[in-house]
């Protein structure tokens, strides 16, 4: 409806702004291009821009424009069919100031070797995940998130593996590997094993989730340490967000991980040269690969760098939870199938059972409409909310979401006016049968894609789903049902997450953190295509509302 809706005009405006020297985020593009060319790489740049659906208060950005700079080191004797990527996000300030230097040093060293069989792409992306998304979309010619980017002039082959570097100081005490990617996807376990093998070979301390592994597995404290590490991984995976720049590569079946350098108070420090040697070793190993990494597990949980729990071990736990739902469904089916024992209500019962399905349809439709409202209203009506209330856009979005969520709790009292007849014993049973089966299928599908999310939802929803009937004490079960609803699960997870990371927060800070988590979740969905927010809004929340309906069934 204006100048910015046409992509061509948008691009023209962006280039005009650039020519007018509008300040673009502090990345030294020209210097990077010159330095990379001096190292003998083929250098290209890519411009991108994106207007976020609402301002991102964590990173303080709303209209994002940036430039990615990447240099390709061509393999001296090989055809240009495969590539490896080494990337360092460049943000203004001190966040990642050493990684680019290490990247350039490695480029210089790699250029002098003759044994590269794949092209190596050294990428410096701006605005971390947004820039990475723009680059990947440009590289693979896809456009799934509506971002605006200039096409890539230079290309390597198909990317086999990628590593992202985050280094804030030139000496590190330990290296941390981050594996969790978008939608809970993980790289092949071989990549983590490669990192660990090289850490041991070079003698650098390596951690996962920022925790050092202990050797005493038999003692209680050692075991609980491992369990806490694994719980951290579960929570990070369940959030569905990409915890490093690598997370966006996984969607394209490119194995990627992020390596973070941590400088804490420890005696033994490693300098950047050693980190460079570690990376060089990893890249030589990846260079010798003849196929993509596929021999090891794609679904695993790691209590430490040297141990993992494979899908064969943790899936049965989820399966047992799902079986509870199926048994409850079977029980309800049997109850529905037995003929009614009372004769005076015989005719009325038969009448009611024939309209049973229709009476179930109404709560279903209304719950899903509420879910759709929860999905669409917060972002669409933020301007209206900002006009009427004195809040910023982000707060408007989050508070609208919470308001719609709480508003849904009032529904059962209103739904029954819409049903033609009064609900009966048959009616709530049919509704519960449908709801339980729906929940089972939903949780099963979620656990297949993102096990941690499915498991956490199953832990909180399955007990309630099995036991809720209209006949249990209403107030107590209402409170329990609300406490185990997805929103409160998220609140508790935030607190537990902070607790596990040994940074416990007060209730005030926790609440603000919770609000920011909700806004980040919504932003992740719009920016990168994370599926957690639509899943919870459109499927899990309506399912939970069905059980709320059953509780207040009359």
């Amino acid at each position: 409806m204006g100048l910015l809706s046409d992509p061509n005009r948008r691009r023209a405006l962006i280039s005009l702004l650039t020519r007018l020297n509008a300040p673009i985020c502090g990345m030294p593009v020209d210097w990077l291009v010159k330095t990379m060319q001096a190292r003998g790489l083929e250098v290209f740049t890519q411009r991108f821009s994106r207007t976020l659906p609402f301002p991102d208060e964590n990173n303080e950005r709303y209209i994002v424009e940036g430039t990615n700079v990447y240099g390709i080191l061509r393999a001296p004797r090989a055809p240009r069919t495969e590539a490896l990527v080494l990337s360092a996000p460049c943000s203004p300030g001190d966040d990642n100031n050493q990684a680019v230097g290490l990247l350039l040093g490695l480029a210089h060293y790699f250029r002098n070797q003759v044994f590269w069989a794949k092209d190596i792409i050294f990428l410096v992306n701006e605005h971390d995940l947004i820039g990475m998304q723009a680059w990947l979309e440009g590289y693979h010619h896809t456009n799934t998130t509506g971002m605006d980017w200039s096409p890539l002039q230079g290309r390597g082959g198909s990317i086999q593996a990628a590593l992202s570097l985050e280094l804030s100081s030139d000496v590190v005490t330990s290296l941390d590997i981050v594996l969790e990617g978008l939608n809970g996807q993980l790289p092949n376990l071989d990549l983590a094993n490669l990192f660990y093998a090289f850490c041991q070979k070079i003698g650098v301390l390596c951690t996962i989730q920022g925790r050092i592994q202990r050797n005493d597995w038999d003692s209680v404290s050692g075991y609980s340490h491992a369990v806490q590490t694994m719980m951290l991984m579960v929570m990070k995976q369940a959030s569905g967000r990409s915890w490093g720049d690598h997370g966006l590569f996984l969607r394209y079946h490119i194995e990627a991980a992020t390596i973070k350098g941590i400088n804490s108070f420890r005696q033994y420090k490693t300098d950047a040269t050693t980190v460079g040697r570690l990376l060089e070793g990893m890249y030589r190993k990846l260079n010798n690969l003849l196929e993509r990494l596929h021999q090891s597990y794609f679904f695993y949980l790691m209590p430490s760098l040297s141990h993992f729990v494979s899908i064969g071990y943790y899936m049965p736990a989820f399966g047992l939870l799902a079986v509870i739902l199926l048994l409850r469904a079977l029980d309800l089916w049997v109850q529905l199938a037995t003929p009614p024992s009372r004769n005076e209500d015989g005719v009325a019962d038969i009448e009611q059972s024939s309209t049973g399905v229709l009476s179930v349809l109404t709560p279903l439709v209304i719950s899903h409409l509420t879910g759709a409202a929860l999905y669409m209203l917060p972002v669409r009506f933020q301007e209206m909310a900002v006009e009427h209330f004195q809040v910023s856009e982000t707060e408007a979005v989050v508070l609208t979401a919470i308001a719609v969520y709480t508003g849904g709790l009032a529904l059962p009292h209103n739904t029954h006016r819409l049903i033609s007849g009064e609900g009966t014993e048959q009616g709530w049973r049919v509704l519960k049968l449908v709801a339980v089966l729906y929940l089972a299928v939903l949780l099963g599908c979620t656990a297949l894609i993102n096990f941690s999310l499915g498991f956490i939802l199953a832990l909180t929803l399955v007990p309630v789903a099995s036991f809720v009937t209209p006949h249990v004490p209403k107030l107590l079960s209402a409170v329990v049902l609300v406490i185990l609803s997805p929103a409160f699960t998220l609140l508790f997870s935030v607190f537990i997450f902070q607790e596990l990371q040994e940074m416990p927060v007060s209730f005030q800070d926790g609440w603000m953190l919770y609000l920011s988590v909700i806004s980040q979740g919504i932003l992740d969905h719009y920016l990168y295509g994370s599926l957690v927010y639509p899943l919870i809004a459109l499927m899990v929340y309506p399912c939970w509302l069905l059980f709320w309906n059953i509780l207040f069934w009359k």
Binding site: F115, A117, N287, N288, L290
Partner: protein, 398 residues
């Protein structure tokens, strides 16, 4: 009278002495002749007049560097001991020297720290890359090549050739993998050798194989004059020797590494025999148990020189005798010649040595419980029986 007697005795004595002398001289002469006959016999005792070598590496990809290094080290030894390139058929399935990942291009090393470059600068590869297939290998052995094939790709051996065949790569029980996509079985190989025997394409054949479970490949040979060596028995893996940290791969397999060490000590005049070759790489060095097979070989392995197969030794014998060619060449009589000809008639070997196959040790088969189908069939029969005649008949059985 006495005087006459003594004189007669003296003369007879002299005659006797003369006769003795003549006899002795005659005896010595005959002995000499016989001795010459023996050395002359020894001169041709090995029976071959030329040497060929067929060296095959069957695996590709960078991490199979060691198989190419194996083959090239045997090539190097064979060439050093005298077999020329025209008599060597070298088949390498992949190019390691010019692989993109080789940090030292144009070299293939066999020893750590890059001590020995077996690629050198005069390697002649006859079959390279994708040309190394089972079909091409068998065609080379049997000689069934299209007329357009160049001479360097042919095995032009005759019935007086000693052939060395060396195979290396990945193998299993009864097969050898070619190029990651096909296999040659031990039966095929045995039949190919039989074809070679029937077409008189070899005098004696030495077969060496360095793969996992290599002994299974020579189990099925049935043609005469074949001696076989393998690096490991059935059920054992052949292990690689040492990795080089700069190149990043394992450089050689253990058996061929120690074989190369052994061959480096052989020179064209050495008298080492096959028994020494059997002792190469005992279990303590190789971890697997090398095996050999000599039952098809007619000569005693102790009398077979290493250079009979690995080298191309021209025998030179200097004789002090003068051979007079003044007598006219006599017409050959028909009688003894025809006998000789009759002695030398050839006959076909047993096409299918049934008796041998029958008396081979039977393979140990694991007992499996009866097949599901048979169980089902019996159950069906039982059910029908009891349905027809009633369940009360069960009582009669139990």
């Amino acid at each position: 009278m006495g005087y006459f007697l003594s004189y007669y005795t003296y003369i007879s004595f002299g005659c006797w002495v003369q006769n003795m002398l003549a006899a002795i001289i005659m005896l010595i002469f005959i002995c000499f002749c016989v001795h010459f006959q023996n050395t002359a016999g020894q001169f041709f005792s090995s029976g071959h007049t030329n040497n060929w070598a067929v060296l095959v590496c069957t695996s590709r990809f960078w991490f199979n560097y060691r198989h190419v290094a194996n083959t090239l080290s045997v090539y190097r030894s064979v060439k050093r001991l005298g077999i020329p390139d025209s008599h060597i058929v070298l088949m390498l399935a992949d190019d390691m020297a010019c692989n993109h990942r080789n940090p030292k291009p144009a070299t293939v090393f066999s020893h750590r720290n890059m001590e020995l470059n077996v690629y050198g600068d005069d390697v002649e590869v006859d079959y390279r890359g994708y040309e190394v297939t089972v079909e091409n290998f068998l065609r080379v052995l049997t000689g069934r090549l299209p007329p357009s094939t160049p001479r360097s790709k042919r095995l032009l051996s005759d019935d007086r050739s000693n052939i060395l065949i060396y195979l290396t790569g990945h193998g299993g029980n009864g097969f050898l993998k070619f190029q990651d996509s096909e296999e040659i079985s031990n039966v095929e190989l045995a039949d190919a050798f039989e074809q070679m025997w029937q077409k008189r394409r070899y005098n004696e054949l030495l077969f060496i194989i360095d793969t996992c479970q290599g002994a299974s490949m020579y189990e099925r040979f049935y043609s005469p004059n074949i001696m076989a060596l393998a690096s490991s028995q059935v059920g054992e893996d052949s292990l690689s020797h040492q990795p080089d940290l700069a190149i990043g791969v394992h450089l050689m397999d253990r058996y061929t590494f120690y074989l190369l060490e052994f061959l480096e000590d052989i020179h064209p005049a050495s008298k080492s025999n096959m028994n020494d070759l059997f002792k190469v790489c005992p279990k303590s060095q190789c971890v697997s148990t090398p095996g050999h097979r000599t039952d098809l070989f007619l000569r005693d392995p102790g009398s077979v020189l290493i250079t009979d197969f690995f080298g191309s030794v021209r025998k030179v014998e200097i004789t002090m005798e003068a051979i007079h060619l003044t007598d006219p060449i006599l017409q050959l009589e028909d009688g003894p010649m025809s006998e000789e000809v009759q002695e030398k008639t050839y006959s076909y070997v047993d096409q299918l040595p049934v008796s041998e196959i029958i008396h081979q040790k039977p393979k140990q088969k694991d007992w499996h419980p009866p097949d599901g189908f048979i169980l089902g069939l019996w159950t069906l029969i039982l059910l029908v029986f009891f349905k027809t005649y009633g369940i009360k008949h069960l009582k009669h059985i139990f």
